[in-house]
């Protein structure tokens, strides 16, 4: 265990994220988005007719919906021109549904993921890993013992073929319909890759399942779809990591995540996002929790130029619960607009949101959250806590919570604080022989600790490392 930790610490995170590979793709759709593009994507994936129909319907909705511009203080999306991005690039791999053995991968892709440290992590801790390079999942593995129990972890494209009925029932129907927002519609039209996780009744997957997404081409869009179905009494922890090197143009990440938490099931979804600072990160993530189900969202948003991401949970069954933990870190030129959305639609439901944000060097963070308690959701309780830390006067830190309470027998609390790094704290640490930078780093690590301690060790280490890099300003 300890050697693994050391290993991860040793890895030069900076080098892991900065390198880029020469692009060489087998297939590239024309720039821009037309019905033709959608048909080509679908045909190339050999999809059933219903999926093509869903894509085309989503495309229509995307074209009808206006760009969201009327949210108070929202990030500037004027640069996001969907016609400019290449929505679908399949890397140069013969095996469409991914390969099962790491050694079968082409060298350049393998090298990329090696640098990211994925295979080591898999060997040591994780029960399955899916890695997505551009739009396709290139590597997917599930430890045998989980397969025997009927646990499925595969590429979403493969799931459309192999688990058609499940996918057809759950894919962008009840949870995230394409009509939800303009970018969900875009996602519905040109989604590609992603993960499908199915956990049968009363099965506990006691090691995390992990996926890693990476964009390598300039002007790229990544549109992976993740669908998690946790049957009654099951338990699973899914982790996704995202990164992309830097290019001069903008990238767009527009993923979709749908999680179905059945009765008494427990799903934890953790993300550490470190997209390059030209990426627009516009995701739609949502879970539906049935009676007694428990959903946990843990997100660290470090990268991207602009992020608009509000993981949401619909507490549909009595006694369902939700737990959100988020960290946002905005440095120079970054606008991280993130938060949580919880709908209490049944009695005895509970939710907690814990948000920590750090703004530095002119970055902007915003907590934008909504808690809705429906009429009849008796004895529901919700507690939202937002803390923000600011480093300098060029940065901005906003908090915009919305609470809608239609039921009287509830307990609702929202709290937020904003502060600067305390001079006294820094002075104290300096008096103990730390220099200014180390002192600040230590204070920030302490500030986000309540969140890092919820993460599996290798992610906590990575997150801490990323924060350190941000603090050094070396990831400019």
């Amino acid at each position: 265990m300890s050697s693994q930790q050391d290993d991860l610490k040793e890895t030069d995170t900076e080098a892991r994220f900065e390198f880029k590979k020469e692009e060489k793709s087998a297939f590239q759709t024309e720039k821009g988005l037309t019905e033709e593009t959608v048909r080509v994507i679908s045909e190339d994936k050999d999809e059933p007719e219903w999926m093509l129909e869903r894509r085309l319907r989503a495309l229509e909705q995307f074209q009808e919906m206006p760009m969201p511009t009327d949210w108070p203080g929202q990030p500037d999306l004027s640069e996001v021109d969907v016609d400019e991005i290449i929505p679908y690039i399949r890397p140069d791999v013969d095996v469409r549904a991914g390969v099962d053995d790491w050694t079968e991968l082409p060298d350049n892709i393998k090298d990329t993921f090696d640098k990211l440290g994925i295979p080591e992590a898999e060997k040591n801790a994780l029960s399955g890993v899916g890695a997505q390079y551009e739009s396709e999942v290139v590597y997917q593995n599930m430890q045998e013992r989980w397969e025997e129990k009927g646990v499925v972890f595969c590429n979403m494209d493969e799931a459309v073929q192999e688990h058609e009925e499940l996918v057809r029932e759950h894919f962008m129907t009840k949870c995230v319909p394409p009509s939800d927002n303009k970018f969900a519609a875009l996602h519905g039209a040109i989604w590609s890759g992603g993960s499908f996780v199915y956990v049968p009744e009363n099965t506990t997957v006691d090691m995390p399942v992990q996926a890693y997404f990476r964009m390598n081409s300039e002007g790229m869009g990544q549109f992976e779809h993740t669908l998690i179905i946790a049957e009654e009494g099951s338990e699973v922890h899914y982790i996704e990591g995202c990164s992309a090197p830097k290019y001069s143009k903008f990238n767009l990440h527009c993923g979709g995540v749908e999680v179905f938490v059945d009765e008494d099931a427990h799903v934890q979804y953790s993300t550490v996002q470190n997209w390059s600072k030209n990426t627009y990160n516009l995701n739609t993530k949502r879970a539906i929790a049935e009676k007694g189900g428990r959903m946990e969202w843990i997100s660290g948003s470090m990268g991207s130029k602009a992020t608009m991401l509000y993981p949401s949970t619909i507490l549909k069954g009595r006694g369902a619960s939700d737990n959100h933990i988020t960290i946002a870190f905005a440095g120079e030129g970054q606008d991280i607009d993130t938060g949580a959305k919880v709908y209490h639609n049944a009695p005895d439901t509970k939710s907690t949101v814990e948000s920590k944000s750090i703004a530095k060097d002119g970055g902007r963070t915003n907590y934008r959250g909504l808690v809705h308690i429906a009429d009849g959701a008796e004895n529901s309780s919700t507690a939202v806590e937002c803390d923000a830390l600011m480093f300098d006067n060029e940065s901005t830190s906003d908090t915009m919570p919305y609470m809608e309470i239609n039921e009287s027998k509830v307990d609702v609390a929202h709290e937020a604080t904003v502060g600067k790094i305390g001079d006294e704290d820094i002075f104290y640490l300096q008096s103990r022989g730390l220099d200014d930078d180390d002192a600040k780093q230590m204070i920030v690590s302490g500030f986000i600790e309540p969140i890092t301690e919820e993460l599996p060790i290798e992610y906590a280490v990575e997150l801490n490392r990323l924060v350190e890099l941000e603090m050094e300003g070396s990831l400019g």
Binding site: M390, E404, N406, S408, A413
Partner: protein, 404 residues
């Protein structure tokens, strides 16, 4: 994007109002400009979340509500001291024309939105309060009754350097012959000079056929204080905005709000502070109770500008639900551009604590009385912020009335 044209309104209407009141030319200009602005002005911003519009102002039928030439009110003004001027505008133009002209519309732009423009174009009542340098008065009261279909009121407070004043205003429905819906519009602007101290209490208790729009804004010079107490009990629908721009170094503002909604009342309560200078302090405290199918909407904004070094800003909002069918929406916002800031906000929604009730009942207090005691107790932290006894008594009495 025009809201809706009111056909009965014309330049002629505005000129008649100004003529009857024998107003100076500049004010007629201001009114006519406001009237012209109606073409393009929007209704006040209302929070909208997916599937839910917090207050629907567009549903108001201004054509039916606005009857500009038949406005009528009975207003009683007391100054409590000769040194302070408390007059209706019409009586103040002769002597204080210059002060009024210099300050009118300087704090609150008449063309801020559709409803402010409408109000400035048509106002027929209101008060001018002028507190000269160094004067200290405590008992300025303005008690108004509304007796017509619509009433537009405009108040201007000018507090000069190192002056201090406490102003209480109240509005109720008089015995009018008018049936059906009514509309009351109340704009208040306060210009607080250096080291001036203004406390402005407002109590709205109109009957339940009324719609109320109220926007109160103050601007502080260095070391000045503007404190607001905003109490809303009446009206079917109330939209209330209380705002302070802290423009001077070391200036302060407190906004205390209370509301108590019963039946199908709807309160849209807004408190906003802009920190624009160094060492400024703000404290926003709002408490409200909702019974029956009443609904409240609250937005609080603490906006700290880039130059607002060493800011302290606090906000609390608490709503107590007495009925299962009541609804409460809240959005306390922080917008921080300067890191040398200490800011916090909190909001809660809950019901009467079951253990507290049980305790009182175990002391042989009946359930109804026990609940009422707890509701009274809920308001105490806010009442304590009200420095003026008379005003506190009024608020307490209205709370008791509602609990009967």
């Amino acid at each position: 994007m025009s809201t809706q044209a009111i056909e009965s309104l014309s330049e002629d209407t505005v000129r008649r109002i100004a003529d009857e009141r024998d107003e100076p030319e500049w004010l007629l200009e201001t009114r006519l400009n406001a009237l012209a602005a109606l073409e393009t002005a929007d209704l006040p911003d209302v929070i909208q979340t997916p599937g839910r519009r917090w207050t629907d102002l567009e549903a108001l039928d201004f054509e039916a509500l606005v009857d500009p030439l038949n406005q009528s009110d009975a207003t009683e003004r007391t100054a409590g001291d000769d040194e302070v001027v408390v007059l209706p505008f019409t009586e103040a133009f002769d002597e204080y024309g210059d002060v009024i002209e210099a300050n009118f519309g300087s704090v609150l732009d008449p063309e801020h939105n559709y409803l402010t423009a409408l109000s400035v174009a048509l106002f027929t009542t209101g008060t001018f309060v002028y507190v000269p340098e160094g004067v200290d008065v405590e008992d300025v009261t303005v008690r108004a009754e509304m007796n017509s279909r619509s009433l537009f009121s405009q108040t201007l407070v000018v507090a000069e350097e190192s002056s201090s004043v406490t102003i209480l205003e109240s509005i109720e429905s008089g015995d009018s012959e008018v049936d059906g819906d009514r509309y009351f519009s109340n704009l208040v602007e306060i210009a607080a000079g250096e080291n001036a101290n203004v406390q402005f209490g407002s109590l709205q208790n109109l009957d339940d056929d009324s719609y109320t729009y109220s926007l109160k804004r103050g601007v502080t010079d260095a070391y000045a204080t503007v404190d607001w107490i905003e109490s809303n009990f009446g009206s079917k629908l109330t939209r209330s905005d209380v705002e302070t721009e802290l423009e001077g170094d070391g200036s302060e503002s407190q906004i205390v709000g209370t509301f108590f909604g019963t039946e199908d009342q709807h309160f849209d309560i807004n408190a906003r502070i802009w920190h624009r200078a160094e060492h400024t302090t703000a404290d926003l405290v709002t408490r409200g109770v909702l019974d029956d199918v009443a609904r409240s909407v609250y937005e609080g904004v603490q906006d700290v500008g880039e130059d607002a070094w060493n800011t302290s800003s606090y906000q609390r909002e608490n709503t107590l639900m007495l009925s299962d069918d009541a609804e409460a929406d809240a959005s306390p916002k922080l917008i921080i551009h300067n890191h040398d800031t200490e800011a916090s906000h909190s909001a809660t929604v809950g019901q009467v604590d079951a253990e507290d009730l049980f305790y009182l009942e175990s002391r042989t207090i009946g359930p109804r009385t026990a609940r009422n005691m707890l509701v009274e107790g809920f308001f105490v932290p806010v009442l304590e912020e009200i420095a003026v006894d008379e005003f506190r008594d009024d608020v307490e009495e209205l709370v008791l009335q509602r609990l009967q």
